[in-house]
Symmetry: C2
Subunit: 304 residues, 2 copies
């Protein structure tokens, strides 16, 4: 389970930095989150197999989060993709992508499925037997959602040693892993707790970009393992956050602290700053576990 | 007068190559021709001042010639541009760009002027006192134009030595440069030819991409100094040109030869080839002056 940062700088792409884009690997899914211009080249640089991406989540329709998507959709076609691609993003995203494909007379030869979002309340937008994805409505200049990825609680782990000692037949193992007690031939009940270990704690990841300081999200992201929260500015530029509806590193750290998350990852830095280290320093004054996203960086938080 | 190749490879952007984009510097203009994804980063790498670009020419609406434009338009806004930007391209380009800006609620704060093209005959689309730009209708899978940039014949150059010998007052110099004879006080007529040199030969550049082999353009581009002609394939893949409506290097060279151009520049190579040298070798069998475009290359043909 990994988080690949493809790009994490605000506004324009530069020779030394890329706009927003990241890939979350969770339970065999590769989720692409935001897709600024140049994302497909960043995917190649990071050696991520295009065919493994089946779900793209777009937070909002500012160019630095979205202008790489038409090219990626086209490249998938040129590479002969036949797998479905699901795109989750604000209402209007379908019109934009389909217009560009229509103008180029280059409709995809694979199914492109749009899931347009317009609710201002959190919504469950994806679910399978292993995980869920919910929107986190944010407060930016245009309609914007963060995304909350949560693994489901898995099966209990079989304690093979105990099960063998009790002489339980293998055909009951699946029943045990599902949480059932076992009734032996003599009527003795062996409680499930004796036969199993707790399943691993489900992992969770919240992506919150772009947004002004928004304490109301704390409840929804409470206790997530990892929170990626934008920090476009430092407190020294705090006068800019109101108009631009971005956050400072201190504000991001305040959300992390109040939500009691495991680790805070900062990103979406304004390109005005020569170094990103001050973002970490500022956040550390509020919250102890802070990491800095950077283009090409891979986080493996969940392997500890 | 220079030609900067920002990108000259077909189809998808890669870590090692870029889709179509080039900047022609002619008579103090910086013309951006095509704008594939990543063009703005290539402009930065090539240290081209964004504010000097006032005219963008888009050949057709396939992504590899066009998907960098929304980002470039947005970046101009973020950089505080106030100069007009003129965009020349196929009908539909205005709808596409304005939709993307509307969805991001980020309309430009500088004037964006669209010149939509739909004629299938050559059209004069730009003219000032120093040069003209015409479309070159091409034959591709969708509506496509090349562009022909021609300097106008300049003023005659004053022969100061002769003018001084005749004792002609400086106030007549402009009249002489405009081509007039001079009548001296005693009625003697000094013919303009004695007082001037011929102006420099006007330079010309034709951009033809993407297109199938199209002999009918020969007449329009006859004798241009430099022809950039796409050569997506080598003759070994000639079976692909009919369906894709692209050209081979041999076909590009045939057009160059028939049009008797000064130099042929090849580009828009399919990314299937490991080396581009075979494109030059193939073209040289037909036409002697062949150059290979490559990303980041700068041609200074006109300084000889």
């Amino acid at each position: 389970m990994e988080l690949h940062i493809l790009g994490c700088y605000a506004a324009t792409p530069r020779t030394i930095s890329n706009p927003s884009g990241q890939v979350l690997e969770m339970k065999n899914h590769l989720f692409l989150i935001d897709c600024g211009e140049g994302t497909q080249v960043q995917l190649r640089k990071n050696k991520i197999r295009f065919s493994r991406i089946r779900h793209v989540f777009i937070s909002h329709l500012h160019g630095d989060h979205f202008f790489g998507l038409p090219g990626l959709v086209s490249t998938f076609r040129l590479l002969g993709r036949d797998l479905e691609l699901h795109i989750y993003g604000p209402k209007g995203i379908k019109e934009a992508i389909t217009l560009l494909l229509k103008l180029g007379d280059s409709w995809t030869n694979y199914p492109l499925v749009f899931h347009e979002l317009e609710s201002k309340e959190p919504e469950l937008i994806f679910e399978d037997d292993q995980l869920t994805v919910e929107t986190i409505p944010l407060n930016h200049r245009i309609y914007t959602n963060g995304f909350l990825f949560r693994e489901k609680l898995g099966e209990r782990k079989l304690n093979i040693k105990t099960a063998t000692e009790y002489g339980i037949d293998k055909c009951y193992y699946q029943k045990i892993k599902s949480g059932h007690d076992i009734v032996m031939g003599d009527g003795t009940v062996i409680p499930n707790q004796k036969l199993t270990f707790d399943p691993p704690k489900p992992k969770s990841y919240a992506y919150c970009s772009d947004t002004a300081f928004l304490p109301s999200i704390v409840q929804q992201i409470k206790n997530v393992d990892v929170l990626y929260h934008e920090s476009t500015f430092l407190e020294s530029e705090a006068h800019l956050v109101k108009k631009t509806k971005h956050s400072t590193a201190k504000e991001a750290a305040t959300v992390a602290k109040d939500a009691d998350v495991g680790t805070l990852v900062l990103g979406h830095y304004s390109t005005r700053y020569k170094s990103i280290q001050p973002f970490k320093d500022e956040a550390l004054e509020i919250f102890p576990n802070v990491e800095l996203a950077d283009d090409g960086k891979v986080f493996r938080f969940w392997q500890n």
